[in-house]
Symmetry: C2
Subunit: 266 residues, 2 copies
């Protein structure tokens, strides 16, 4: 309870202050998360190009800052960051090993973490620095509600397995419980912060369903990667709470989706 | 000679007409190129998710059309196409096999071909539908001149190996010959089409060097992938001329780079 309350306060302060705190937090997540991925895949004897993931990830984060996004909106800065990073990764393999599995798994890892982390920053400043506090909080609320709802509904009513080969404890009932819980939480939350959510009730239903769907897919995807690597936790970020990726797995999918929905439909 | 002249006329007509011809040409390149990649990697017993590469690639091409780019410039359509494709690829593995090497090599292949093909379309319409004929022709000229220059200079003066483990016939002398040849060709070409190239002579030198550098790296990268798969040609697109990827390898790197340079520096 206490550690949960402390985490909530920390997240709120980081959200509120914006770039001066979110920037370092994302850099730390980039550093720790890519380290966890490298140690996970090392168990399958697959090396990762950590310099590519970290320096390239830094470029993606810089490209996602509101300053650069506003500096020349005609330039797809994130695509440039991705392109330069890819070129560097190819050059590295050309002159240092030609290890194609390392290249392939590094590309997967790059799209999985560094690329998606940038959306946390984009969403904090979309549509603007003030409302971004709310928009970035939407996937946080939806994801948290999904986790809680899926856990309790799954434990109480769970009968039918959702994805038995990947995560044997997940059930279809829990999945639906997560969807319903996310909708109720977002309904309550957007009622509390009236005016900040730019859609109506019908749209909120679709929005909550998509976010909860993405959050649960993010959770399953990380389970799939961990199962492939033969680990139960992605690391030891918080003693007793697994690795950092275990905390971020749902958000990695739901935050980019929120950003896409926001820029397309408003 | 005759087949070269015919190819030149075909390329010119496709360039001139724009989307109604470039669109189908890129779709064909997507279809054939991803097929070649799948057959290449199959020789190393690595399957690719062809549906992800082809349907996702189609989304990237649609996102790169001038119509969608102009429809709502605030939406990063290509990122949305990439994000939706990634989500679909993860879902596919969650419920059909959890084959992580297939996922990783499919991501590498996606960034290598479908993602880069979209830049051919973007560049054809940057800065506009008229001048785009010229801007897209710049990497074509630079790449062709690089190939010719590197071949003849390398054959005549080549002594020092460039990347012996990847492509034993390439030399540093040939590499430099390619750079010089690209500069001379672009110098002549931009003099012929005065006014269309938006930079001065000093910038042209840097531009030619970067494009030639990218073209030769693209060539080496494809050699590296072919060597990993144990093939000499990527396929049999043109009898006696290898596969389609053997023709496109340099452009895959030089066309996106031209687009980045154009949108950043003009």
């Amino acid at each position: 309870m206490i550690s949960g309350a402390v985490a909530l306060v920390i997240i709120f302060v980081i959200l509120w202050v914006g770039l001066p705190l979110i920037g370092p937090a994302l850099l730390a997540a980039l550093w720790i998360g890519t380290g966890e991925l490298a140690r996970m895949f090392a168990r399958r004897d697959v090396p990762l190009n950590l310099a590519f993931l970290r320096v390239g990830g830094l470029l993606v984060l810089i490209a996602s800052t509101p300053q650069l996004q506003a500096y020349n909106p005609g330039v797809p800065w994130r695509e440039v960051a991705l392109g330069v990073s890819l070129l560097a990764a190819f050059i590295y393999e050309l002159f240092a090993g030609a290890n194609i599995p390392r290249l392939a798994f590094s590309m997967l890892s790059f799209l999985y973490l560094p690329w998606t982390l940038g959306y946390f920053l984009l969403l904090r400043y979309a549509p603007d620095a003030h409302l971004g506090i709310v928009t970035l909080s939407l996937p946080l609320v939806a994801t948290f509600a999904t986790d809680v709802g899926a856990y309790f509904v799954g434990r109480t009513f769970g009968r039918h397995k959702l994805a038995p080969t990947v995560s044997p404890n997940k059930t279809i009932e829990g999945f639906i419980g997560g969807l319903v819980s996310a909708f109720l939480a977002l309904f309550l939350y957007t009622w509390l912060i009236q005016g900040a959510f730019p859609f109506g009730h019908g749209e909120l239903l679709v929005f909550a369903a998509l976010l909860s769907f993405a959050a649960q897919l993010g959770d399953l995807t990380e389970s799939m990667l961990k199962r492939y690597c033969g680990v139960k936790d992605s690391g030891q970020f918080l003693p007793g709470h697994g690795g950092l990726l275990d905390r971020l797995d749902s958000l990695i999918f739901s935050v980019p989706l929120t950003y896409y929905l926001l820029v397309i439909f408003t």
